[in-house]
Structures are given as C-alpha cells and as structure tokens.
Symmetry: C2
Subunit: 360 residues, 2 copies
C-alpha cells in the first residue's frame, strides 16, 4: 500500500488514521460481532455513536443550545430547495449574494419558490472577489439572506460574516465548515455536504436555529421538513449510518488535532505557503483578490495552458493527485481541506518549482 | 474478532466477504493510493465502479433497456413523496393496496398530493395476509397503483404481482428486492432502500420505465425529479459514493452465489426451515396466512410473552442478535435477507428448540 497526496475538491482526502480505524473495526465494531453498517440505527450501540458525533460537533463549533444539529441526506443541492421551503415562513422574497457557481445554483433553485433579490454579485469581475459589507443591498423584507462563504470552484472566501440586521443569515459552508472558527450565533442556518471537511459523500449536516422551524410551504415533502428531522433526532427514517459514524470519527480526530483553532492555524499556514509559491513565480497565477483567497480551494493557472496536461501527468507520477481544475473552468486547483497534511502542500510547492524550472 | 449471526431488519447483515473486501481496500483502492471514499465521483475510476454496479444490477434483475436505474439518497421514505410528485402526470388519484405499516406510510404521504383510493386493505384481519387479485378494486383513472410486495414489520409477502390493466404498477421492494426473480416489465417503478438486500443505509435504488419521466407537480424540488437524475446518470450532484460502491460489491457477490435464481432457492429453504420449526411447536406462533408468509422477515411470538426478554437475552448470549420484534408490535422477528447464511437459520431453530425445552 502506498498512500498518495489527494487534492480532490470532493469527495476529498480523509485522515489516514480515521480510514485505518474504520478498516480495523469494519467486520466487528467494538466486539459486537457486527459491522457498524449492519446495526439498526435504533440500537443502543448505534444511537450512542450518533449522539457522540453530534456532541463532538457541538463542542468543536461551540454550537449554542438553541440550534438543532441535523444529519441528513441529499447533499447541499437538496438544501437549495429545503432552505426556501422551510425559511420563507410567509414571506415572498429572499436576498442572495452571488459569488460564483455554487451561489448561482442556490439562486436558481430558490427562484422556483420566491423572489430572489441579488444583494450583490461579483460576476462582472469574473467572480474573483467577494463583495464588501458596504456593497450589499439588503432588504428588511427578505425572509433570509443566503451566501456561500467559500466558493469551491472559484476559490473565493469571505473574510467577514455579513451583518443582516436581524434577517436570518443562511450559509452554504460545504467547503469551509470546520476549517476555521466561526460564531454560529450569527447564523440562522448553516448547511454543508459532508464530502469535504466532515466525512464521506451522502451525508449533509444542517445547523439551524430552532425558532426558524415548523412552517413549510404547502406541498413540501415530509423529508424536506427540518422540523420533522429535528423532532426525530435525524432518525425519522433510516439515516446514512456509516457516513454519520465516519463523521464522528473525524470529529474525534479533529479534537485530537486541537480542535478548530488548531486546524485553522494549520490551514492558514498551508494556504499561505501555496499562495506564496504562486505569487513568487511568473509562471503560476491565481486570479482572486488577496483578501478573498480561499484557504481550502486554490485555483491556479500556468503561463502556458498547453502545459496543463503535462503538469497533471507529472504531478500524478509524483504522487500528487487530482490537481486538475473544475471541468467548467480548466487550469489547476489544489483543494487543501483539513485532512490534507502540510507535507502535501510542501510536496506540491516543491513539484511546482521543479516543473517551472524544467518546463516553464 | 468473532462474527455473530445478525437477524436485524435493517440496516441488516452484509456478506462477510464483501465487508472483508471493503476493509482490505479501504486505504488504497486498486493501487490508486486513495480510498474509494476519497475519489471524485466524476473520476474515471469511480465512474467505472458506478457503471459496473448498474450493469450488474441490470444483469441480476434482467432489467429491460427502457428502464432507468437510479442510485439516489433519502430512503424509501423520500420515495413516498417522489412517486406522486413524478407519476401523477396530470391525473388526480392513485390506487394503494394497504397491507401494513409501510403501506400506510406511503399512503399518508401520497394523500398530501392526490386522492388515494384504497384498492384493498387487510387491516381488518390485523394485516395477517395480502389481498388476492380478485379482492382489488382498481380504477382505470388512477395515475398508478402502489403496493408493498413485502411488509418488513408484518412479515407479509405477496405471492403474485397485481395485474393493473395498463395502469403503472409501483412497488416498494425495500425488503425483498433481489430475494427472488421478478419480471421487471410488469412494473412502472420499483424502489428500494438499500439497507436490507443491497448495501448500507443512505442509498436508494429506483428502477423506472423511461416513458413515465419528465412531468412533475409544480414546486417539485429539483432533487425530487427522477428525470434530472436519469439525465445525469445519478450524478446531478455528488452521489453517496461509498454506498454505491458497496452495493456494487454485493451485486458481484450475488452473481458469485449464482444470481437471483440461486439465492431465491436458498431463501426459500431458509424460510421453510424456520416456519417448519415454528409450526411444529406449540410454543412458537406466526400469525400470517400460509400463502403470504414472507421469506425475508419472519415474526413470531412465544406462548408466554413474559419470556420474551429471556429469549432475547439467551439468544444474544448464543450469538443470535437482533431478534426483538419491531417496537410497534413486540414479540420476535428474524429477518433473513440474502446475506444471512443458512447456518444462521439452523442455529436459530436449534436455539428455539432448546429454549422451548428448557423454558417453555
């Protein structure tokens, strides 16, 4: 076995010691004679795993008691519908900040349920920055304000939390949850697909202030009603038990790393190293405004796009995988989530310097 | 490590050799240096895994080419909404056959979207049988006819496929898919939560005739539109990649067992042994009409319910796990899905005989 460095945008790298633990207990979880996957979600053993995962996430993010934590299915894409279906609550419009591909997807789906006001858009500068607080045109009539704190494809990350003057703030944190400390109390609802910083694909975490629950649009499928899941501790039906279990292992791993503060310092260091390598070179470039450069997803281009394929091939041979940019934008992208070790970034910057010298 | 016999109704027993394979390749799938969980769903490697799983399922069930096979999230419970949202197609009513707990859940959700005609109900006999074809009152105006071929809690299984005279037939096969041969062409849509005969929880398989796609009720969430998933080969968004992979391993395992015909013979033998043990005793009883006794879920009671707890305890000590009946009905239930070996049934019947002799 030879593990490689994985820069995939998602599903993404997982901590090796978590994978090893899952492997070691795959056929016999804690002496029960069963795999965790073979257990009823209502068994005492499984419920304790599920509850511990929730508690660990609450600890890591300092989630206040008046927030529910839900472990759901369907990915962030399902949240694009669930959020308006649950949070309009008699209102007819919502404010959206448009900072790229994922914002636009959320907007397109919300438009099917309400009037969407674009509070700000950076499309004119090709989504190379986030708008400032002063650039936001917010409405006090909006049911909520939706934004994407980190755009996975564009590599644009907000350097502040928007102030919405009491209107519930909703964030798609799929690609930067748990990467740095945030103040949950500033949000009405946070959602995240698990397959970047939480665990395997097929699990979605929703953190929602409890006063926002209980009023859905007519015709909302029962499985799209947050209140139903909240009342059932996310076991209205069979949850994705293996993903929830693995998320729990990752939360424990994160605690062993020192929690979100500690991983945040490491993430900052990793990102700074990679941006420094890009900026020090005439050969590599990143288009994002300095203040909004993502710590998680770092797109970069080569001075000669004809070399893209060679770069990918030689990086692969060097054990640096999945550096191709998103199919919609091309170029390169290094996703350096929590589970990507600093050694991976060091190996990448070394490779980049070598490639520039030999091919640039 | 000591593996035990697992009679859980779901999440349920998985084949030991499949778990061992998943364990062995957990940190390094086929020499890639990555876990299958860490791979982009759009990578060549993962797409080949996903496509092979679909092809193997098509082979196993002889699924005609004009049917789409979808790998979704949300469980059968999400299908309770998705079916009416997609299949009403301008009509205002659907026929439902009510044979127990799961039928009733499907009915309750469908009532939110259309008029539900109860084509037959066995509630009067406490759901201890399935209605005959002659007992069905079907309407030619119905958008579809929905039934539950196997009731997981009641242990009632249809011994025929209803004839609906051209009205699309919809089946919740969560607990008996792949347990015996069926003629897919008789169905408009088949759905199944994976966590009984397909794989881990968090994956839902839908098999749908392609002419039924493309017309949803207004307001249907995009993720609840079968046509969207069909057009994207179930990758409209990130699918539950590990569950899909594991389902593929199980389909290959099933092929190695000789396919559905072979497993069906084994399932029949397992069920007949257990029913024979129940029927030969004055101490154990199963309430279901002979013709409708499930091959997958076998509920039984003890002559003295005060002994239920002791039975469970001593069975546990004998390595026979999860025999307690569903919390809504009590008593015992042995779920003997494809992955439960015949040796488990032999051990159970021996234990039952011993328990009756010493405690009965």
């Amino acid at each position: 076995m030879s593990r490689k460095f994985n820069f995939s945008a998602g599903p993404a790298a997982l901590p090796e010691e978590v994978l090893a633990q899952a492997r070691d207990e795959m056929l016999d979880w804690h002496g029960t004679g069963l795999s965790i996957m073979e257990m009823s979600h209502r068994s005492d053993e499984y419920v304790s795993v599920a509850q511990q995962a929730e508690q660990d996430l609450r600890d890591l993010m300092a989630i206040p008691n008046n927030y529910k934590v839900l472990f759901l299915q369907g990915g962030a894409t399902s949240q694009f519908s669930m959020v308006p279906l649950n949070l309009l609550r008699g209102k007819t419009s919502a404010d959206f900040i448009n900072t790229g591909v994922w914002s636009k997807k959320a907007i397109a789906e919300a438009k099917r349920y309400c009037n969407v006001n674009i509070a700000a858009s950076t499309e004119a500068n090709n989504f190379s920055s986030a708008p400032t607080q002063q650039e936001l045109t917010l409405s006090s009539e909006a049911a909520y304000v939706h934004y994407t704190p980190n755009e996975t494809i564009g590599g644009v990350e907000f350097d502040y939390v928007p102030e919405t003057n009491g209107v519930p703030l909703v964030a798609d944190m799929s690609s930067n949850i748990l990467s740095r400390p945030i103040d949950v109390s500033k949000f009405g609802l946070i959602y995240a697909g698990a397959q970047k910083n939480i665990g395997p694909a097929g699990l979605t975490v929703v953190i929602v202030r409890d006063d926002l629950l209980g009023e859905t649009l007519p015709g909302t499928p029962t499985m799209f009603d947050y209140a139903v899941h909240a009342a059932a501790d996310s076991m209205n039906n069979t949850p994705p038990t293996f993903g929830w279990y693995l998320a729990g292992l990752i939360f424990q791993w994160l605690k062993r790393q020192g929690g979100v503060e500690a991983i945040s310092a490491m993430n900052q260091r990793k990102a700074e190293k990679l941006y420094a390598a890009i900026d020090a070179s005439e050969f590599y470039a990143n288009p994002v405004a300095i203040a909004n450069r993502s710590w998680m997803n770092i797109p970069f281009t080569l001075a000669d796009a004809a070399l893209d394929k060679v770069f990918i091939q030689e990086a692969d041979q060097a054990g640096l995988l999945n550096l191709q940019g998103h199919r919609s934008v091309g170029g390169m992208r290094a996703s350096i989530y929590n589970a990507v070790p600093e050694a991976a970034v060091d190996a990448l910057t070394e490779f980049m310097a070598h490639f520039e010298k030999t091919r640039g």
